[in-house]
């Protein structure tokens, strides 16, 4: 079947949005490649949805340019951009059946009735809802409604689909399942997807690249593993999951000390040298042992709390007078330590980074 748009590459250069006296989005520069699954991740008010609305054309692009392939679409109205769109509340038309909802975008396109039927059939098959074609959207569960919205977005085979927290209204168990399905469909059809979410696990699970937004700007941009394991700032580190941020004195970009203990870390490239700094390390990277761990970083600690969270046992630790958190997988024989135990806490140099203290921007 033929494609609606020639290109699926979207480039934002210097994009900004102004509401009254406030810049809610500032200087966003990013090129989303054809066939890429790209997420805008951030807390509420970070500008991620506004950025998506500018790409969709529902909000005016006050500054900079948005290009689709070689064409500047900054001033093109939404109905001419030809993007698919999936909303958090599904935005299904309650007065139409599932099949009519899916056929809706085809009705403004010049297609024969047979071709239209065929496309609707294909879209419903893709989302595994063929049996529900004649139902009303209201008769479906949340997950099924979201699938109808997806079918409606892919039915005219746009090269680009924009999704605004599409799984935000679903409960936890269903969410992971739907993430897998959306990702599979995106791969199979080779679509570009721009995905807005505030759920870091969701973004990491689905995306090729993630832009973490804060105060209208991109705080960091990279693959899931890059941003999770090597954050450039304490904000990104904390936003993507549990993070230990131990206040230390940096002696170089890779070495620090605190209370006589010395630490060796991977270079963060953040320019931290001999200042107060934060030593970043994820809780699951900490190794706990009764005897020295033999890792590059190894300090004495004490267990202050043992939390049973199911798949994970979370230890609260007192390390050099600071609270730290270590996550251990709930394997046979865990928890291995009890409240009050003294132990050694170790981690590899490549698993930690020195970051600028918070409040210093970025």
């Amino acid at each position: 079947m033929n494609q609606t748009n020639a290109s699926g590459r979207i480039a934002l250069t210097g994009v900004g949005k102004i509401y009254g006296a406030q810049k809610v989005v500032r200087d966003v520069n990013v090129t989303i490649e054809e066939g890429e699954f790209f997420s805008l991740l951030g807390p509420s008010g970070s500008g991620k949805t506004t950025t998506l609305m500018m790409i969709a054309g529902f909000a005016e692009t006050d500054e900079g340019h948005i290009r689709l392939g070689d064409q500047d679409i900054s001033a093109v109205p939404p109905k001419e951009r030809g993007f698919g769109m999936v909303f958090q509340n599904y935005a299904l038309f309650p007065h139409m059946s599932v099949a009519d909802n899916v056929a809706f975008p085809l009705k403004v396109r010049k297609l024969s009735a047979a071709e239209r039927r065929e496309r609707v059939q294909w879209a419903l098959e893709t989302v595994k809802l063929t049996d529900f074609a004649d139902r009303s959207p209201k008769q479906l569960s949340g997950g099924q409604q979201q699938r109808v919205a997806l079918a409606r977005a892919i039915v005219y085979q746009p090269r680009v689909i924009l999704m605004d927290e599409p799984l935000g209204a679903l409960d936890k168990n269903l969410r992971f399942h739907m993430q897998t399905e959306i990702k599979d469909i995106q791969r199979r059809l080779g679509m570009t997807v721009i995905y807005v979410t505030h759920d870091q696990e969701e973004a990491m699970n689905m995306s090729d690249r993630i832009a973490i937004m804060r105060d209208g700007q991109i705080a960091q941009l990279g693959t899931p593993a890059e941003v999770y394991q090597h954050p450039d700032s304490a904000f990104v580190g904390k936003f993507l999951g549990e993070a230990n941020l131990l206040p230390v004195t940096a002696t170089s970009a890779t070495a620090a000390l605190r209370d006589g203990a010395t630490f060796a870390c991977r270079d963060a490239g953040s320019g931290v040298t001999s200042e107060p700094a934060l030593l970043f390390v994820r809780p699951e990277k900490l190794r706990l042992a009764a005897t020295p761990t033999g890792l590059e970083n190894d300090v004495a600690g004490r267990v202050t709390r043992v939390s049973y969270l199911g798949s994970v046992i979370r230890y609260g630790l007192d390390v050099l007078g600071q609270e730290m958190t270590a996550d251990a997988q709930n394997l046979t024989g865990t928890p291995a330590f009890a409240e009050g135990d003294s132990l050694r806490v170790g981690w590899a140099a490549q698993d930690c980074r020195l970051l600028a203290p918070e409040g210093d921007g970025a």
């Binding site: 529902f58 109205p77 109905k79 935005a91 038309f93 403004v108």
Partner: protein
Amino acid sequence: MTRAPLSLRLVVTIGALLLIAPILIIVIVSFGGDGYLKFPPESLSLQWYDKFFGSSRWWSSLWSSTVIALMASAISTVIGFLGAYVLVRSQSRWRLWLLALALTPMIVPQVITAIAMFYSASQAGLVGSLLWVAICHSVIGLPIVLLILLATLQNIDVTLERAAAGMGYSQARIFATVVVPLALPGVISAALFSFLASFDELIIALFLTGVRTQTLPVRIWNSLLLEVEPTIAAVSTFLVAITVVILMAEWAIRRVGGRQ
């Protein structure tokens, strides 16, 4: 906690019954077989209804009322729908002023609205024109139409319109395929309520209708001044019955619409 005390509920029930007692008395009196207004009636008959339906004067009033109410309802529903859409979708600050303005007919004492409309009409020689009465009645009906349609349109998610626009639909097609079908139950409610508002209105009609265009409430009024006879009770009961029927129709339509 989930139940109010029994004493309170009793008081409220009795109060509510007292509220409609006078209306019930009129209804009962209208079926009286006596020669004058008497409660309770000594015998029952339909004589006053015969008189009502047998009188061409009453029929012509019913006709005037109906024509005026239909026109008023159409005018205020169309204008109210457009107004409500603009008010719901507009973001700017003046929308509140506009709303306040549109609600003035609900707020200004009706005598004064009536005087103002009469004064304007007499300057333009419009007294007695059915259309002019309908226009004035549509102003009276506008606030209720606006309130109903504001609530209706507010429940239509703007993302539905965005979704359609994103799929390539123009504003006009979105209106036809999404907004109007979804707002239909509210539009019908608004039309029925504005019909009633006009059908039942007295004061403005009293000022603006001529001898030949008297509406039903006006003729009831004039009859009261001339002759206190039970026909008025029959006409009143008829008017109440029509009101109740229209309200029940509205309720039924709303239920069916809600189920869809």
